[in-house]
């Protein structure tokens, strides 16, 4: 039992950390760059994607033995599109302002390559529980990635976080951060940070094993 629990936990953490969709796989960049102008937008986009991802992975996993191989992609798309429509109407009902802010990117979750990729590479080959846990992990990882971008862009671009002013009213907003180039700058900075951290950890592990590194 404990063996199964650790497997599930690892399955979950795979998407959150080791295979993070934004920082490691660098997938789904279109919403990552476009809607991360503020932390709220980023988080709600992440949650919407997580919902679609988890539900469609569950359904794909349940139907994995029924779906003919030849039409699997089309079937996945229909399943994903169903849940995207649900999310689309849900967000419209909850907050129209948020719906306007996210714009076409809610509908575009359909073509988010993370979701189709998970359905194809994981959910269609694993039982429902594993598929759902893995999809949840991926969704959380995606949300973390979006939040990392959105918070930095909101702090520098508006001096706020979740709409609360951090630096007082005399803050000088960095206009470029809420413009498209800002998204690329911040994503690049995060990738640089993670790459540097990964290299540092590798070097430390190498030193612990007594392996000499030639830089």
């Amino acid at each position: 039992m404990s063996q199964a629990a650790t497997t599930t936990w690892e399955e979950f953490m795979e998407g959150v950390w080791r295979q993070n969709p934004v920082f490691v796989m660098v997938l789904g960049l279109c919403p990552t760059l476009a809607v991360t102008v503020s932390a709220v937008n980023a988080l709600s986009m992440g949650l919407a994607t997580t919902f679609v991802l988890t539900c469609s992975c569950l359904l794909v996993s349940l139907l994995r033995k029924l779906i003919p191989k030849e039409v699997r992609i089309a079937t996945y798309i229909v399943i994903i599109a169903t849940f995207v429509t649900v999310v689309d109407y849900l967000i419209q009902a909850i907050s129209l302002a948020l719906y306007d802010a996210l714009g076409a990117f809610i509908q575009l979750i359909v073509v988010n390559c993370i979701i189709l990729g998970r359905a194809e590479a994981h959910a269609s080959k694993h039982p429902p529980l594993t598929a759902v846990v893995n999809a949840l992990g991926m969704g959380v990882g995606f949300s973390i990635g979006l939040f990392a971008l959105g918070s930095v862009r909101e702090i520098l671009g508006a001096g706020k976080l979740f709409g609360f002013s951090l630096f007082g009213e005399h803050f000088q907003p960095w206009v470029v951060m809420v413009l498209p180039p800002g998204g690329f700058f911040v994503l690049g900075l995060w990738l640089l940070l993670f790459a540097a951290w990964g290299r540092w950890r590798q070097r430390r592990q190498g030193a612990a094993k007594g392996v000499t590194q030639h830089a």
Partner: protein, 392 residues
């Protein structure tokens, strides 16, 4: 006898990257001194802070990365000084530091350090500052204010991350109006006021909000061109093409467009033409390419100034031309001796192209020994040499 075959250049001078960069810095000293004389303490602090920020960033990336060069080669100093000269003198110091960091990090370190940069680092920093802080970069302060050597312009001492103070009340205290804090280009674009070419040339008169004197920059630049530290073709092409375009438009409708001298001597055109466009890593190396590159910058500058919402267009013109540099180099390869169109007439096949390999150019600069090709045809082969020994 061995004959060594190698391509030009055959005459070399013991001239390294730090030597060139050092001379550019020396030639910038009078320009910076005049800038400080115009704007006082604020300009001095801006020059120092921006340059220090560039140097610190260069050190950081050279140390942590595996990049060539270090702060000893003076290239980061040039970037810092040029960036500070292109920013308004009373630009908030913390924004200047951010611009300096971005200039080196984004403009230079990202693509691999000195010699590998695609865009002029100083202009990358300035473009970032313009995109991030459009209000502050459009706020110029008037030159030759009384008491400029004893007190800062209030906007330059803004707290980090905070907005600079509004200059208007400070200007009113000194009996100056808002127009004094606008550059001649902005005045022409938004108010229709035209400054004279003579006062622009020296930038000595009144409280004009201008950069260092174009005349001084031309003098310092001609020293560099005379010593062959920069190629005179690039500034000549830029000024020629900008002047020609402006003159053509002026001839077409004198009431709509200003005279060509105003175009040439206002804004940062001279500084950009002499010091920024001539950056060796980002400008073409072929002579024909230099003319083309300069003409492109001049044309784009005038077009941006006349037809866009921005008063000044030199920065974007140079950045665009930098992006076009590889293409320009490709289409303007010089014809090798014996491969001219006349010589080709008899041949069915066109002559092969000889692309100038960037690695080859940098090896020349670094005094590395070029691989020697020996002319082997007249040399007896080892077997042939052995033959007479056997027969005898």
């Amino acid at each position: 006898m061995t004959i060594e075959i190698r391509s030009a250049p055959h005459i070399k001078a013991p001239r390294s990257v730090p030597t060139i960069m050092r001379h550019v810095v020396w030639s910038l000293v009078p320009v910076c001194a005049f800038f400080v004389y115009q704007y006082g303490l604020s300009a001095l602090a801006s020059l120092l802070v921006v340059t220090a920020s560039c140097l610190a960033t260069e050190r950081l990336f050279v140390r942590t990365g595996t990049q060539a060069g270090d702060i000893g080669d003076f290239s980061a100093v040039i970037t810092g000084l040029l960036l500070a000269l292109s920013l308004p003198p009373a630009f908030p110091l913390w924004m200047g530091a951010v611009a300096g960091f971005v200039a080196i990090a984004l403009g230079k370190a990202l693509t691999g350090g000195i010699g590998f940069n695609v865009f002029n680092p100083a202009l990358v920093g300035r473009a970032f500052a313009q995109a991030a802080f459009p209000q502050a970069i459009a706020t110029y302060s008037p030159s030759f204010l009384p008491g400029r050597f004893t007190e800062f312009v209030p906007s330059s001492l803004a707290w980090p991350l905070m907005q600079p103070a509004d200059l208007m009340p400070w200007l009113k205290e000194r009996q100056l109006d808002a127009l004094a804090a606008a550059t001649p280009l902005a005045k022409w674009k938004f108010e229709g006021v035209l400054a004279g070419a003579e006062e622009l040339l020296t930038s000595l008169s009144g409280h004009m909000a201008v950069g260092p004197s174009p005349l001084l920059i031309l003098l310092c630049g001609s020293y560099l061109a005379f010593r062959r530290f920069l190629d005179w073709r690039i500034p000549a092409a830029i000024l020629g093409s900008a002047g020609l375009t402006a003159w053509l438009l002026f001839a077409l409708s004198p009431e709509r467009f200003p005279n060509p001298f105003f175009m040439l001597f206002s804004g940062g055109l001279i500084l950009g033409a002499v010091y920024m466009a001539t950056d060796m890593a980002t400008s073409p190396v072929t002579p024909k390419g230099m003319w083309l590159y300069g003409a492109l910058i001049g044309l784009l500058t005038v077009i941006i100034r006349y037809y866009s919402g921005l008063p000044e267009g030199v920065m974007y013109a140079i950045l665009l031309a930098n992006a076009a540099t590889p293409l320009i180099e490709k289409v303007t390869q010089p014809t090798p001796f014996g491969k001219s169109a006349l010589a080709r007439l008899g041949q069915a096949k066109r002559g092969a192209s000889y692309p100038l390999h960037p690695g080859y150019i940098s090896r020349e600069e670094a005094h590395a020994v070029t691989p020697k090709k020996r002319f082997l045809r007249n040399k007896p082969k080892p077997e042939e040499r052995r033959k007479p020994e056997k027969s005898s």
